[in-house]
Amino acid sequence: MPFAGWEMPVQYEGIRQEHVAVRTGAGIFDVSHMGEVETSGPDAERFLQRVLSNDVTKIPVGGAQYSVLCRDDGGVLDDLFTYRLAGDRYLTVTNASNHERDHEWIASHADGFDVTVTDAAAGWAMIALQGPRARGILSELIEGEAPARMHATETTVAGAPALVCGTGYTGEDGVELLTAPESAERIWDALAAGGATPVGLGARDTLRLEVCFHLYGNDLSEDRNPIEAGLGWVCKLDTGFVGSDALKGFEPTERIVPFAFTGPGIPRQGNAILTEHGEGTVTSGTMSPCLEVGIGMGYVPLEATRPGTPIEVDVRGKRRPAEVRERPLYRRES
């Protein structure tokens, strides 16, 4: 399946099987389509504080942080992870379809800052290793200790230099590995030999939706601001980032909610959501392999955002009963 210029498998063996492998064991995902932008120089921190929504000064060296990139009017250009590799050097991971725009946007704001903004996408391949067994498999192959959650370490994996990041998109423990493209196959093969199951794009989507992580292009877009998208927590308005002025005092009339069907059916992107307080729209929907019901996320009127609120989703003319839920929709039984 072609995606933003990349050939990517939707599945290797089967979406449900791959999904369960990540929830119960470990899965590996080739996410080399993700882009990277490197920002370095004496003003790197001050500059990223201006373009990224979160408080960049809170990232320690070897730390990671989630944020959004906003237009001046607050519309979301992308959601991103930024890793602080050194005091004056950061790596920001972009979504494939936004990468060029992100890079141009970031670079275009660099006037007056002593920084170098580099499109580093061609220099990195990315493999996600996720699941309860992920760290066990990694421990056999990594030199030194694996980084804690939301931290990153430059080390070697299977003998190849890699940036190992304690982040992911599945709701499971695990890491994301950034490495040179020529080393990716070696690391992939070593992780697979260690027992990790190859997982395609299909299960990547069902996994992230069960834990309510946003997908840009579905749940996030330039037409939505981060407050509506439930990402106010990554927007530190007093840092003065681009878009913060528009978000100050913003009162949303709609907000994104997770929901689950209480009967049959599968919600799909674009389906109308019917509530007592007006209509909304499904932005992501699927059949949850773990919960075995239709699940999704969508924007609904503010009055209908409380967990437990009954709603209906119009799936190709059939009104399917559903209920607003708390996030995440799926949580491991502990």
Binding site: G14, I15, R16, G202, D205, P264, G265, I266, R268, M287
Partner: protein, 131 residues
């Protein structure tokens, strides 16, 4: 998932449905090719028993994780049974598309329509062309 097969003795519709004719009734399902194109079936939305179906028109939907597909009736008639087991185990459509993965049973209103359907050789030709 089952291996590719197209049983003798079934009648096939070019929209990748099969019909097993038994007197004035028939069982409908989707072919191996259809389930393979769709991927893992996660939901079957059956019609109601008693509903009428028209040949060449959609009578139900099957959904995989990624896609929704209309299921086209190979023949006209009235639904006399639906495969309730697919409610809990829709993957039967993948595992056994001509057996446990059947979709509906229909009382035929015009058995002569059977002559418009393809035999296995003609359907296999069609599938070969689609690949």
């Amino acid at each position: 998932m089952a291996g590719e097969s197209y049983p003798e003795g079934l009648k096939y519709h070019p929209e990748h449905d099969w019909a097993r004719i038994e007197g004035d009734e028939a069982t409908f399902g989707i072919t191996w090719f259809a389930q393979d194109q769709l991927g893992e079936v996660v939901f079957f939305d059956p019609p109601e028993v008693g509903a009428s179906v028209n040949a060449n028109e959609s009578y139900a939907e099957v959904e995989s994780v990624k896609a929704v597909s209309d299921v086209v009736a190979p023949l006209s008639g009235e639904i006399v049974a639906v495969n309730e087991a697919l409610g809990d185990a829709p993957e039967k459509v993948n595992d056994d598309p001509y057996g446990d993965g059947w979709l509906v049973r229909v009382k035929l209103s015009d058995p002569a329509q059977v002559d418009t359907l393809l035999d296995v050789a003609a359907y296999q030709e069609l599938v070969k062309g689609a690949e």
